[in-house]
């Protein structure tokens, strides 16, 4: 088994438009999805959500706001899962609720240092 980082990207500008009921339904979908991975004993670290605001530091002390000013999809969170192969990790990612908001999952094998 290897560890894979799942990076969830989505358009955060859509977030405030949701009603509390929609938010709650979305939380349930996420919890059921992560719970499902955990029930297969394939969850290494549930990970975290990331605050939408941030800074991007570039060479020569150039500091920009956000990453979302540049790309429509910013990183909303991450989790680490266990899988036998990249294909299996990709398969697990297919059920991710991020797709319901037009987001994406980037699957990357973690190469331990």
């Amino acid at each position: 088994m290897k560890d894979f980082l799942l990076v969830f990207r989505m358009d955060y500008s859509q977030m405030p438009k949701r009603s509390p009921e929609e938010m709650q339904a979305m939380t349930k979908r996420w919890m059921d999805w992560i719970g499902s991975i955990a029930a297969q004993n394939k969850l290494t670290d549930r990970g975290n959500r990331l605050e939408p605001s941030g800074k991007v530091v570039k060479p020569n002390n150039v500091i920009a706001d956000g990453p979302y000013t540049e790309i429509k999809e910013s990183i909303g969170g991450y989790s680490i899962i266990k899988a036998g192969s990249l294909d299996e990790a990709t398969e697990i990612s297919k059920g991710c609720p991020v797709f319901l908001n037009g987001g994406s999952v980037e699957v990357r094998e973690i190469s331990a240092m």
Binding site: K28, D32, G35, S36, A38, A39, Q40, N41, L43
Partner: protein
């Protein structure tokens, strides 16, 4: 109570108290002396009470005899002790000055101190549970062997080795410091949790023994709640879990000693007093920010004390299982989560979830799929139930599954 019932009863309640107080006094080096003095005390009681009749206050009599026997022991061994064993906790300058304190407070303090000793990480978890049963619960090797479904010799050797380890580590029997409590409390709670589960889920058919194990685990957990220093949210959560689980103790075993599944239980047999106590401790457990697996399991057990079969109830249980599995995976939690998932989200989605967890060697997995496929695809349901019947080892489980097959095939 007649004498022939009184001595075993007192043995159950008082032997462990005498042992633990003497152990604390003598130190870990001399556990056996403490056990011998306590045993001799009961031997004297069974001999003398038969001849002279019961003393006015049997407990006080036992304590006095135990104290005198300890003093005698020191009188005879004081020279030896002073010369040979320097590490003994108690230095007997004059045997008349020995203060053997069998007050309720010192008994509780000694038991608490001993809990942290028996849960010392130098011993395996099985050895820790064995030691707890022997030194804190006053169980004989035969009873412990019964609980572990093994023989007396195995348990005897396991206990001897475990005590030897404690001696080698020179573990002190004393009130644990704040730092020691923080460090060792998780191990203590794990031992108490497993001790309870040993009683609750044991394959042993001895229902009385099983209930005793659960009650002992609860008594020891309650000791931790009563002590200001160890009265932590996780301890309350564990006690809440034990209260909720044991509230169904009488409902989950029928008159033939067979297990009755949750859905088939007569809810009027549930113990409401224990349910209320469980709620109280769960409330206490919610102080602070920690959410342990005991909190989540207590939350699930609390939901199970509600009789209604609503979607909301199962949705709550499902989310608690999601959290529990994120903290710690276990096959049982994975199976139970899938059951709750089916109740909350429907069987069709749950079948996909169930097939992902893939615990094909577990009979409960096939029982679950048998239930999930019932009325969806009865042919598949039957196949899974037949596999479950093949995989299970206990007669009781085979019977329960055979009943389900009969219902399915009409």
């Amino acid at each position: 109570m007649h004498q022939e019932e009184l001595i075993p009863h007192l043995f159950r309640t008082e032997y462990r108290k005498i042992v633990v107080v003497l152990c604390k006094l003598f130190g870990i080096e001399h556990i056996e002396i403490a056990e011998d003095i306590a045993s001799d005390t009961f031997l004297a009681a069974s001999e003398l009470w038969g001849l002279k009749g019961l003393p006015e206050n049997p407990v006080a009599w036992l304590y006095t005899v135990a104290k005198n026997k300890s003093k005698d022991y020191f009188k005879h061994h004081s020279i030896f002790l002073q010369k040979v064993t320097k590490e003994i906790t108690f230095t007997a300058e004059s045997s008349t000055q020995i203060d053997i304190d069998l007050s309720a407070k010192n008994i509780n303090d000694s038991q608490l101190a001993m809990m942290f000793v028996v849960c010392h990480p130098c011993n395996s978890i099985e050895a820790q549970i064995g030691l707890a049963l022997s030194l804190l619960c006053g169980f004989g090797t035969e009873e412990i062997a019964g609980a572990f479904l093994t023989n007396k010799e195995t348990i005897y050797k396991r206990l001897q080795r475990a005590k030897q380890k404690l001696r080698e580590e020179k573990v002190e029997i004393k009130q644990p410091s704040r730092a020691e409590i923080d460090e060792r409390l998780p191990a203590v709670l794990m031992t108490l949790y497993l001790l309870f589960n040993e009683g609750y889920y044991s394959a042993s058919n001895d229902a009385v023994l099983r209930k005793d194990l659960c009650l002992e685990a609860m008594r020891l957990t309650y000791l931790l709640v009563e002590n200001e220093q160890t009265n932590k949210p996780t301890v309350n959560a564990l006690l809440a879990l034990m209260c909720f689980q044991s509230s169904r103790f009488d409902a989950r075993i029928n008159e033939h000693g067979e297990l009755v599944l949750y859905g088939d239980q007569d809810a009027s047999l549930w113990d409401n007093e224990l349910i209320e106590q469980g709620k109280y401790f769960l409330d206490e457990a919610s102080r602070g920010n920690t959410i342990s697996k005991y909190h989540l399991e207590a939350g699930i057990a609390c939901m199970h004390t509600k009789q209604e079969d609503s979607k909301e109830k199962w949705e709550n249980i499902l989310q608690l299982y999601n959290h529990l599995l994120i903290i710690e995976y276990s096959p049982v939690a994975a199976l139970n989560r899938t059951y709750a998932f089916a109740k909350a989200n429907g069987k069709k989605e749950a079948i996909i979830e169930a097939e992902k967890i893939n615990l094909t060697a577990n009979h409960l997995y096939h029982s679950l799929l048998g239930w999930l496929y019932t009325d969806v695809d009865n042919q598949k349901a039957l196949l899974h139930l037949q596999t479950a019947r093949q995989l299970t080892k206990t007669l009781n489980d085979k019977k329960l599954i055979a009943d389900k097959i009969r219902k399915l095939t009409g």
